[in-house]
């Protein structure tokens, strides 16, 4: 099981436990767990509505690719520890991480 924590827009935290080996992105897991996350482009790094801030565990994550960094640059509120949830695979690199949902709401 991979465990990580999600902080929603109200600051409430919840720990999620996801079986290893499932081929999902963090965005897909957040959607499946009924978090309010738009993900307009369905995970293609084209909309930046799945923006998360990595409060803990940033360095363990694989580095962002160009498409993700390009998109983060269009966000006025991105921080150095911002990522797009759709570009993060749910695997051991997320273990113990804390992710705060920052994407816009409708």
């Amino acid at each position: 099981m991979i465990q990580f924590t999600i902080e929603d827009r109200d600051g409430e935290r919840q720990t999620l436990e996801i079986p290893e080996g499932i081929n999902l992105s963090l965005m897909e897991v957040l959607k499946a767990s009924d978090y309010n996350i738009l993900a307009t482009c369905g995970g293609m790094a084209l909309c930046a509505t799945c923006h998360v801030q990595v409060l803990e565990g940033f360095d363990a994550l694989p580095p962002a690719r160009d498409a993700e960094l390009d998109m983060l640059d269009t966000l006025p509120d991105a921080d150095p520890d911002s990522r797009l949830a759709c570009q993060l695979r749910v695997d051991e690199s997320l273990e113990g991480g804390i992710f705060k949902i920052r994407g816009e709401e409708q």
């Binding site: 307009t40 482009c41 930046a48 640059d73 269009t74 966000l75 006025p76 150095p80 409708q106």
Partner: protein, 334 residues
């Protein structure tokens, strides 16, 4: 005042195809879109992506599909109001409507079709103290007419392609150009980023990196921006214009206040004809919802066809509609 049979809000693929279906029934259309170009999500979000699920096209580039739709509806001479957002809808004594945009354009129509997709694409606004207070008074989120910036002190904010491109362009137009970006590198096209660094080296623009604009000030019109660096030090800079360029994001906008039944930002419709709870208003494409709804272009096209058959009775109340294939009639033009 523009007069038409059907006013379509949203010139995305579904709004565009609705013109074709309406045209077959000899109904004229006017389209309004908040974006300066037609095509909706296809042109705004993913113009270069191939789409694989349009019947008859094993693969088609999104912008090409939009271009083809424009060619397909050309015989029906639709008219367009682009770059304006629909704000109000007023029912007339004879049940028709007058629609008005934020720029004051009015359209009189018998039927309203909302093909608004995810909603209006609006600029992403950074968190800057007093920002909204100076909108139209020095603050703008796009450059509509660069000549208005001639000989002015312009501050741009952002790190994407449009921030880079406008910085390069305005270096020759404005009196002073400053680009503020939160990071120390740019992800936009490497060529544009290089030009910006070169202009800064030549002293033709100011580049303020690792910084954010945090507040703006002025007396009725913008006069100064405060920039906070990573080390929390604050610098004030005299400025006549501020242009934050952080791309666009869709918002449902004014349609939410029109008395329509809405569920989670989508308009509830009757699937027999995609009519809403308000007579003479239809909703098609991504903006509507019903049991089993799929947000696909294909589904929006189908909805447009059924909607037009139903809308016909309002445009031609005394005529009977008989269905015919285009292969029988060809494409009737106006």
């Amino acid at each position: 005042m523009i007069t038409t049979d059907i006013c379509i809000i949203g010139a995305g693929p579904v709004g565009l195809f609705a013109v074709f279906e309406a045209g077959l029934l000899k109904m004229r259309c006017h389209l309004i879109d908040a974006l300066p170009q037609v095509g909706g999500q296809l042109s705004e979000i993913y113009p270069q992506k191939p789409i694989y699920d349009i019947p008859g096209y094993p693969a088609i580039n999104a912008q090409q599909l939009v271009d083809n739709l424009m060619e397909q509806i050309e015989p029906f001479h639709p008219t367009f109001t682009l770059g304006e957002r629909v704000e109000t809808l007023v029912r007339q004594a004879d049940e028709s409507f007058v629609i008005t945009t934020n720029d004051g354009t009015s359209v009189h129509c018998q039927v309203v079709v909302i093909a608004g997709g995810l909603g209006c694409f609006e600029p992403r606004k950074p968190e800057i103290l007093n920002l909204e207070q100076f909108e139209g008074k020095g603050v703008a989120y796009m450059v509509k007419n660069p000549e208005q910036l001639r000989d002015r002190r312009v501050v741009l904010a952002g790190g994407g392609d449009s921030a880079l491109d406008w910085t390069v362009f305005l270096a020759d137009v404005a009196k002073e150009v400053t680009l503020v970006h939160r990071s120390d590198s740019f992800r936009g096209a490497p060529d544009s980023a290089e030009k910006v660094f070169d202009l800064a080296k030549e002293g033709r623009i100011n580049l303020v990196l690792q910084s954010n604009i945090t507040s703006i000030h002025g007396n009725g019109h913008l006069q100064e921006v405060s920039i906070t660096a990573k080390d929390k030090s604050v610098t004030n800079l005299a400025a006549d214009n501020l242009i934050p360029l952080f791309g666009l994001t869709p918002k449902l906008g004014p349609i939410a206040d029109w008395g329509l039944n809405i569920d989670k930002s989508a308009i509830l419709v009757d699937t027999t004809d995609y009519s809403t709870n308000v007579e003479r208003i239809y909703a098609i494409g991504d903006i509507n919802t019903y049991p089993g709804k799929l947000k696909l272009i294909l589904c929006g096209f189908h909805e447009a066809a059924l909607m037009c058959q139903s809308a016909f009775r309002y445009v031609y109340p005394n005529q009977k509609l008989s269905f015919k294939y285009t292969t029988v009639n060809g494409i009737p033009t106006f």
